[in-house]
Amino acid sequence: MSAVMSQTTASAPPQGPGAAGGLTPGATPQAHRRARVPRGDSYHFKPYNVGRWLVWGLYAGVLLVAPLLWTSSLAQTMLSQIGIAIIACLSYNLLLGQGGMLSFGHAVYSGLGGYLAIHTLNAVSAGQLALPVSLIPIVGGLAGLGFAALFGYVSTKKSGTPFAMITLGLGELIWSMSLMLPEFFGGEGGISGNRVAGQPVMGITFGPQIQVYYLIALYCFICTGLMFAFTRTPLGRMLNAVRDNPERVQFIGYDTQWVRFLAFLIAGFFAGVSGGLSALNFEIVTAEVVGAARSGAYLLFTFLGGATFFFGPIIGAVLMVVALVLLSELTKAWLLYLGLTFLFMVMYAPGGFASLIMMNLRVAAFGKLRPLWTSYVALALTGLTALLGGSAMVEMLYHLQLNEALGPQMRYLGMTLDAKGLDAWFGAGFVLVTGGALFELARRQFRREWDQAQEEIEKEIKRRESL
C-alpha cells in the first residue's frame, strides 16, 4: 500500500519513460547529478508539466464557474460550504494520509479558529480593530496554529493508537469547556457577528453570498496549492517516512516527534483558516463546531474520499456537504447508510473513492476497461436492487419509530407502502435477498475479470521495462 500512498497524484505526470526523470524532482537523482556535473554547466531539458498545469487550471476553472452554472441560493450556500470543507478535509489529511496520525479531535482547531475569527470580526464591527474582513480567516488560521502548538505538544508525544485516544480526550476537554465558559463560547446560542464591517475594499462588502463564495474559493485554491506544495517539501517527505517506518527515521537522525509536531502545526493552521471562513460564511459560531460529531465527520469523509491520494479529501469534502445538506433531508436514516458505507469502504476499498478512480484509470490506461463494463453494469443493477429492498425496510422501521402518529402508510420512492403490512415487509425482504444474491454472483464474476486484467497489466509493465 505504501507504494500507492507515496505517489500523491493530484497532477498525474505523464508516464513516459523519457519524461519521468526531468519532471519529478525526486531527491536522489538530482543529488547524483549535482555531484557529477558542476552547477550551471549542464543543460537540463525541463518542459512545462502540462498535466499539472491542466489539472490545476481545471480546478481553478471549476471553482470560478461553478456558481455561474448553479445560481440558486441553495447551490451557492452548498458551494461555499464545499469550499470550506475542502480546506478542512485536506488539512485533516495532512495528519491522516500524509502522517498516519488518526486524530479524533480535528474540529478543535477549526472550531477555535472560527471562534477567534468571529471575535475579531466583532472587534472590527465595533471599530476597535482596522482589519479588512477578507483577512479574518488568516486570524482564524493563526488561532488554529496557536492551539495546535499548545495541544500538539501533548498529543504528538505519542503516535498510532495512543495518539488517537489523546486527541479524543483533548476534543472532549474543549467541548466540556465550551459549556463552561459562555463568555468566550457564547453558551447555547453561540457568538454571532456581521460580516459587513469596516471599510469595503474595492466595493466588496461581503454582503451578498456570491462575494463570500469567491473569497472562499480564493482561499480554497491557495490553501490547496500550499498543502500540495507542502507534500513536496523535504518535511512533507519526512512525514511520509515517519508514517511508514518511524524506527528507521530515528536511525538516520530525525526526531519523529518533532516531525509529527510540525505537521500538526501546519494542519492546525489550515483547519483554523477553514474555521475562520465558516465564521464569515454563517456569521455565527456555536459550540458544536468543536464537538466530537464534527471531528468524526472530518475523519469519515476524508477516509471515504480517499486518504491515500492528495485529491481524495476534495471528493470527501463534496460528499460531506452533499450528505449533510441533501441526504439528511432525504432520509432520517442517513447516518446508518453512511456508517454502513464507511464499514464496507474500510473492508473492501481502504483507499476510498480516490483509489477506486485511480485503479480504474490505470486499467483504462492499459486499454482493459472495455471488457469490464458489462460487469460494472451488472454490479450496479444488482447493488441498486439490494439497496432498494434494504432501504425500504429501514425506512419502514424508521417510519414506525418516528411517525407512528401518521399511520402505517408511508411514501417511498413514489410507492405507497404499508409499514405494518406483511406483504410490504415480505416484498422488501424478497427484493433485498434476490438483489444481494445476484450481487454476490456479479461480484465473483467481476473479481475474476478484474484479477485477470490486473495480471495482464503487470505482464505489460514487465514487458515495457525489459525493452
Binding site: S155, S159, M180, G339, V346, M347, P350, Q401, L402
Partner: protein, 335 residues
C-alpha cells in the same frame, strides 16, 4: 461538610470507578492482545443495556443479566470474525476505523429498534431502595441501618442513603475482577491467552488456534462491556446517548492507567471515578480562594466552581499524566 455526605460520595465515586473498570478491562484486554482499540466498546455497553431491557421483558431481570452479555458477546465475536479479521492486513489504523464505523452503525441500529428516547429500564424490586442508610442525629455519633431507615428516625436526624443498585454494581465489578484474575492466571485458557499476548507465532506453532483465541477475547471483552451496560442501564438512564457519555472517559482511563496494563486500568478507573464524583459537592472556586473581584484579569475562569469544572478534571488529569509520565501510571510501554 458532613461526614456522612463525604462517605456516601466516596462510595458513589468508588462504584462509578468500578463500573468504569468493567468497561476499561475489556478494552484493555482487547487492546493488549490484538492491538485493536475498540472504538465501539461503549456502543457494546449501550447495546448490552438495551438487549437486557428487551430480554428482561420476556424472562425477567436475573436471567437477562446473564443472557444479555452472552448475546452481545456473540455479536462481538461475529463482528471480529466477519469484519475485523478482514482488515487486519491493512494495519491498526484500519482496525480502529472499522470499529469507529461500527459505533455509528450500532448507535443508529439501536435508535432504529428502540427509538430515540430513553426506555424505562428499572431495577427489579429486589434491587430497589437503599442498601444502607447513614443516620446522623444531632449531638450523637454516626449510626447506620441496613436498608431504609424508619421515617420517624429520619425526621429527627439527617439521613443519607446509599442505593442498592450501586452496591450491586460494586459487588459485580469486584466479582468480575476476581474471576478475571483467576481465569487469566489459574486456568489453561488463561495461560494460552497470556502466551498469545506476547508470542502469538509460538503459541500457534504449539497447535493452538490463535485467531479463535482472538475471537474469544474480543467476544468476552464485548460481553464484559454488555454486563457493565446492564448494570449501568438500571442505575442510570438507558438512552442512546449513554455510549457517548462513557465513551471518551474509558479511553482516558486506559491512557492514564498505562496502555495495555490491566492493573493500571483498575487504579485509573477508581481514580477517575472519584475525580468525577467528589468535586461535585464542593462549591468553592479559585475566585473565592484568592478573593478575586469581577475586575480581576481572567475572572470568568476563576469564578468557576469546582463542581462546575468536575467534567473536565479527568481530561486535565490525562494531559498532566502525558506531560509528566507519558507511559501512564502503571504502564510499561513507552509509546
Amino acid at each position: 461538610m458532613l461526614v456522612e455526605q463525604i462517605l456516601i460520595n466516596l462510595l458513589n465515586g468508588l462504584s462509578s470507578g468500578l463500573l468504569l473498570f468493567m468497561l476499561s478491562s475489556g478494552l484493555t484486554l482487547i487492546f493488549s492482545m490484538m492491538g485493536v482499540l475498540n472504538f465501539a466498546h461503549a456502543s457494546f455497553y449501550m447495546l448490552g443495556a438495551y438487549v437486557a431491557y428487551s430480554v428482561a421483558g420476556w424472562i425477567g431481570f436475573w436471567p437477562a443479566l446473564i443472557a444479555a452479555p452472552l448475546i452481545v458477546g456473540g455479536l462481538g465475536a461475529l463482528f471480529e470474525r466477519g469484519a475485523l479479521r478482514r482488515v487486519h492486513k491493512y494495519g491498526h489504523v484500519a482496525e480502529l476505523l472499522i470499529t469507529f464505523g461500527l459505533s455509528y452503525v450500532l448507535l443508529e441500529l439501536v435508535q432504529l429498534v428502540w427509538g430515540r428516547t430513553a426506555v424505562p429500564f428499572s431495577p427489579p424490586p429486589s434491587l430497589q431502595g437503599a442498601a444502607f442508610t447513614l443516620v446522623h442525629a444531632p449531638g450523637q455519633g454516626l449510626d447506620w441501618v441496613w436498608g431504609e431507615a424508619a421515617p420517624a428516625v429520619c425526621a429527627a436526624a439527617s439521613c443519607s442513603k446509599f442505593p442498592l443498585t450501586r452496591a450491586f454494581m460494586m459487588l459485580v465489578a469486584l466479582g468480575m475482577l476476581v474471576s478475571l484474575w483467576l481465569l487469566l492466571t489459574r486456568t489453561r485458557i488463561g495461560l494460552v491467552i497470556q502466551a498469545a499476548l506476547s508470542h502469538p507465532e509460538m503459541v500457534e506453532a504449539l497447535g493452538h488456534n490463535v485467531p479463535r483465541v482472538f475471537m474469544l477475547v474480543f467476544g468476552s471483552g464485548c460481553a464484559l462491556a454488555a454486563l457493565a451496560g446492564v448494570i449501568g442501564g438500571i442505575t442510570f438512564v438507558t438512552e442512546p446517548s449513554m455510549a457517548v457519555i462513557v465513551g471518551s472517559i474509558i479511553f482516558v482511563v486506559v491512557v492514564v492507567g498505562g496502555v495495555g496494563s490491566l492493573a493500571g486500568a483498575f487504579v485509573a478507573s477508581l481514580l477517575i471515578g472519584l475525580l468525577q464524583t467528589l468535586p461535585l459537592t464542593v462549591d468553592g472556586s479559585l475566585a473565592t480562594l484568592f478573593k478575586a473581584t469581577p475586575e480581576t484579569f481572567g475572572y470568568p475562569l476563576l469564578k468557576l466552581t469546582l463542581a462546575q469544572v468536575a467534567p473536565i478534571l479527568p481530561y486535565l488529569l490525562m494531559v498532566l499524566i502525558l506531560i509528566f509520565r507519558p507511559k501512564g501510571l502503571l504502564g510499561t510501554r513507552e509509546d
